[in-house]
């Protein structure tokens, strides 16, 4: 890959290794705040290791689509991470308009996941799939309000240019502190909760099929397939929080260890925030979710109004 440097590979590898920690941190935060001890933060690593050695049951209704879905979810999340300037300067791959690739890679994963759910012919999974696509379309709009705001603010067309500071690039450090930035960051955090299936949109800990969205789509997955789905979800959470950290903590000119330490501290902070939200609020009624999402998107949208005027 042209222009790829060691630091970009190192930060990507670290992100992929650390990602399963984030759901654990969020869960632990929630446990502590609700007066329980909770599972250790590395619980997901143990779960993944366990699931990889578990057998699987495939429904006789399913086809290759059901088996493809977990691979697609994990692969698209990893590819989305490739586009982000994780080390604070630039991503492994950068090109003008790569924000669309970022959003639509997650879209590809979602499309195949939803088809995998419909492949089972289960009414529960159909229900989850239907809700997922409905809410995700609003999330996608909000994401583009946020990206458009940053793009106009920095006069950059690639995620690396917008959120990083390419050495020798003209637009380094184009992010300006101000109301727009705050609104975009808050909006992005709201969208992260939806995209990563957290309270108040969805609840990763629920056990009633009728109220679930993401969890109900993966009811029939087990063993290594479920491991891939869980890992893909963790990487998605890591990617979204890395985006927020890059927005709030511009790291132009920082040394690599310092930059990475700031990134991962920030990501853990986002995970803690997710846990705090989860223990402080209840899940919204499904009818209210579109309103919540439209609110988060509108927040980013007002950010755009401020920079365009």
């Amino acid at each position: 890959m042209a222009g790829a440097t060691a630091s970009e590979f190192v930060s990507l590898a670290l992100l992929l290794a650390v990602a399963p920690l984030l759901p654990g941190v969020a869960a632990r935060t929630r446990a502590i705040l609700t007066g329980r001890r909770g599972a250790p933060v590395y619980q997901l690593y143990a779960d993944l290791w366990k699931l990889l050695r578990r057998g699987v049951v495939y429904s006789t209704t399913t086809t290759a689509m059901f088996r493809l879905a977990p691979i697609a979810v994990a692969a698209t999340a990893v590819l989305a991470a490739v586009l982000l300037p994780l080390d604070g300067t630039g991503g492994l791959l950068r090109f003008s308009g790569d924000a669309l690739a970022f959003a639509y890679l997650l879209g590809l994963g979602r499309f195949l996941l939803v088809l995998g759910a419909l492949d089972t012919g289960s009414s529960f999974e159909g229900m989850g799939a239907s809700r997922e696509v409905a809410f995700a379309s609003v999330v996608e709009m909000g994401l583009f309000f946020a990206i458009a705001t940053v793009s106009v603010m920095t006069s950059e067309l690639s995620l690396s240019g917008m959120f990083g500071a390419p050495p020798g690039g003209a637009g380094g450090g184009g992010l300006r502190a101000g109301p727009s930035l705050v609104m975009v960051a808050a909006g992005l955090f709201g969208l992260l909760l939806a995209e990563c299936a957290r309270v108040p949109v969805d609840d990763p800990h629920t056990h009633l099929e009728l109220t679930m969205i993401h969890e109900v789509m993966v009811l029939d997955h087990g063993g290594p397939d479920l491991a891939l789905l869980l890992y893909g979800g963790a990487v998605k959470l890591a990617v979204m929080s890395a985006l927020i950290v890059a927005l709030l903590v511009p790291r132009a000119g920082w040394s690599l260890p310092l930059s990475l330490a700031a990134l991962f501290a920030g990501m853990l902070g986002v995970a803690v925030a997710v846990g705090v939200v989860e223990s402080a609020t209840a899940r919204l009624r499904l009818l209210k979710v579109p309103l919540y999402l439209a609110g988060a998107a509108a927040l980013a949208g007002f950010g755009l109004v401020l920079v365009v005027r």
């Binding site: 209704t61 089972t120 012919g121 409905a134 379309s137």
Partner: protein, 660 residues
């Protein structure tokens, strides 16, 4: 141009062979052979022009009023010509196999002949450079399409759809006649070159009239909201290879017309660019929303054509705004994105309609609620449909992503513009989130279409006994799907030609433009890296899964049903219920009538423009007409009185009116 003319000749010879051979089986093969050979010949000069060759032109002094007949081939024409030919050949091959079974009871040759004629007419539409030739080819295309739509005329719904189409297309032609009439007032021959030269003499008012009439006249053909009402019934009623041609290609001649008018008239005023952008955004959003609530597979696909025409117009609109604000890069990218999305939509919509035709052929129904589980029974049709579906929602690594990528980055570029273009052009960036919402809704819609038709368990006996389509139907489906993958994985090969076309529309010389859009070409190659990375990482996870599965027990079982022991296919989510959350979010805009009960949920889609707008309007016109009925007494002396009164009124007018 000799090759092009020879190609057109072969297409017309194909139409002739249909008449000569009638319903003999040998006729089909000759027809497809002639069309394919004609397409290759006519395509060669188009490819040469797109590879940077000089534009071609041929002029014939026809000796008819209105000046010479001129045919020309510039990059803009070439992109559209290749789109027409590629999808045309695939659909023709499919059509021969599709209609072969009906040879016993239907004049199949008539459909084939009309098909070849429509192809030839479209090739002339996009190359004609004189008004009369253009309008003649336009009408031949419209009438031939009518014959194709009413192939299955024994059904009342098909006849009705055909009539609606005929009325709409002629209303559009009327607007075009008015446009050319206004434009040519400035004098000169009825050739495009003369019109372009006369444009500065028109004045602002007449130019505005020309541009608005062009948008309306070509918009009817393209199927813009609110002129789209004829499109879903017509495309659903036609045989599937005709639907593929109509949805993929015929409606694009409307886009061609709009882009050609921009080319001839020079940079349009900013307000017109905003109009195009707004109409495009409205078409994209409403088209996908209405598609989402359809339960007829082919109507669903037809509404998606409205959506994609909207995306093409967003590109056109932002391009026009860029041109109006003196931003050549924005203009070239916008027009180029429109041209590329035209090609891409033709390819994936062709694949989708042809795959849908295979489903209809195997099951006898287009109703989503009666399908399901076809992925096991028709795996190759499923593959073609899946690729087409992923392409239309715009995800990498397929072709839909490439053109949406161009549109999005052009909107971002418009959003970053500074200087004289200032805040006004920057507002165009608000189309980007709207387009993202459209993308999300398209994902929802195709998750529904693909999931309900092909996955799960069959919802009817027809779906349960369905068989894979024959090779004659599968070949064209898979060929078009492959084209979608090739453009998605190797976009750099295709971005340069469409930017050439964009520069033509923007009136920029390629030599100067190449430098300013050069980084886009380089970035297109990075999309190939992204695609390779996707396959690489996906393969890695596949390997991990495979290694893990080798060591564990893999069993088959039932789908988890919360412990309920007797699952039936009726328990699955239906097309109605899948779309219900989004239909609820958009309320009345989505145009569904819901039927809720303790045990049933069912929604019936309708077209708000047709059923809430046009139908009541016509009913009112009809009632007014009934009031005039007493005038018609059927007695000769009453009519004589009318004649006398009219003549007297005209004489009075002549006396009173000022002499000019």
């Amino acid at each position: 141009m000799t090759l092009f003319l020879a190609g057109i000749g072969l297409l017309i010879a194909g139409a002739g062979s249909g008449i000569v051979f009638r319903n003999r089986p040998a006729g089909d093969r000759r027809l497809v052979g002639l069309i394919a050979a004609g397409a290759v010949l006519a395509g060669i000069p188009a490819v040469q022009v797109l590879r940077g060759g000089a534009p071609r032109e041929i002029r014939w002094h026809a000796g008819v009023p209105g000046g010479d007949w001129v045919l020309g081939l510039d990059p803009l024409s070439a992109v559209f010509l290749l789109t027409i030919l590629v999808v045309g050949v695939a659909s023709a091959g499919y059509g021969a196999a599709y209609l072969a079974a009906e040879r016993g009871h239907r004049a199949v040759w008539m459909s084939h002949t009309a098909f070849a004629l429509v192809l030839a007419a479209m090739a002339l539409v996009v190359t004609s450079r004189s008004v009369l030739l253009f309008l003649g080819a336009w009408e031949l295309m419209a009438l031939g399409s009518y014959v194709l739509i009413v192939t299955e005329h024994e059904h009342a719904a098909v006849r009705r759809a055909g009539l609606l189409y005929l009325v709409a297309t002629h209303a559009g032609t009327l607007a075009l006649l008015a446009m050319f009439a206004v434009w040519s007032r400035a004098g000169g021959e009825w050739t495009f070159a003369a019109l372009a030269a006369a444009r500065p003499a028109l004045g602002d008012g007449a130019t505005a009239a020309v541009l608005c009439l062009a948008l309306a006249g070509f918009g009817v053909k393209a199927g813009l909201v609110p002129f789209h009402f004829w499109l879903p019934p017509a495309h659903a009623a036609a045989p599937s290879h005709v639907s593929a041609l109509m949805s993929g290609v015929v409606i694009k001649t409307g886009i061609y017309g709009i882009l050609r008018v921009i080319t001839l008239a020079g940079p349009p005023p900013a307000w017109w660019g905003w109009t195009v952008l707004a109409v495009g955004a409205a078409s994209a959003l409403l088209g996908v929303l209405w598609a989402l609530v359809q339960h007829d597979l082919k109507r669903l696909l037809a509404y998606h054509s409205v959506e994609n025409i909207g995306i093409i117009l967003i590109g056109t609109g932002v391009g026009a705004l860029g041109a109006a604000s003196g931003q050549p890069v924005v203009a070239i990218l916008g027009y180029g994105a429109a041209a590329l999305h035209t090609l891409n939509h033709a390819l994936f919509k062709g694949a989708l309609f042809l795959a849908a035709g295979a489903v209809v052929r195997s099951t006898g129904t287009r109703d989503l609620e009666r399908l399901g589980g076809l992925a096991r029974r028709m795996p190759l049709t499923w593959l073609g449909f899946l690729v087409g579906a992923a392409a239309i929602i715009g995800v990498p690594p397929l072709n839909g992503f490439v053109s949406e990528w161009l549109v999005f980055q052009d909107l971002f570029r418009a959003g970053q513009s500074t200087g004289g273009a200032g805040p006004a052009l920057r507002l165009a960036v608000f189309a980007a989130p709207a387009l993202a919402l459209v993308g999300g809704l398209a994902l929802a819609c195709f998750a529904k279409a693909a999931g309900i038709v092909f996955l799960g368990s069959p919802r009817s006996e027809e779906a349960r006994v369905a068989r894979e389509a024959p090779a004659g139907l599968l070949g064209p489906v898979l060929a078009l799907a492959l084209a979608c993958v090739v453009i998605g994985v190797l976009p750099a090969l295709f971005v340069r030609p469409v930017l050439l076309a964009g520069a033509t529309v923007a009136g920029q010389a390629w030599a100067g433009a190449a430098a300013s859009v050069g980084d886009v070409l380089a970035d297109a190659q990075r999309i190939s890296i992204l695609a390779a990375g996707l396959f690489l990482v996906g393969g890695l996870f596949w390997l991990i899964r495979r290694l893990a599965l080798r060591r564990v027990r893999v069993r088959a079982g039932e789908t988890w049903g919360c412990g309920y022991p007797l699952p039936t296919p009726r328990m699955q989510y239906t097309a109605s219920s899948f779309a219900a959350p989004l239909a609820a979010v958009f309320g009345g805009l989505s145009g569904v009538r819901e039927h809720r009960g303790a045990t049933v949920y069912h929604s019936v889609p309708m077209d708000p423009v047709l059923e809430r707008g046009l139908a009541p309007l016509w009913a009112r016109v009809e009632r007014l007409g009934l009031r005039l009925r007493p005038m018609q007494q059927g007695r000769l002396h009453v009519y004589l009185i009318y004649v006398v009164v009219t003549v007297v009124a005209l004489l009075v007018y002549l006396v009173v009116a000022p002499v000019r």
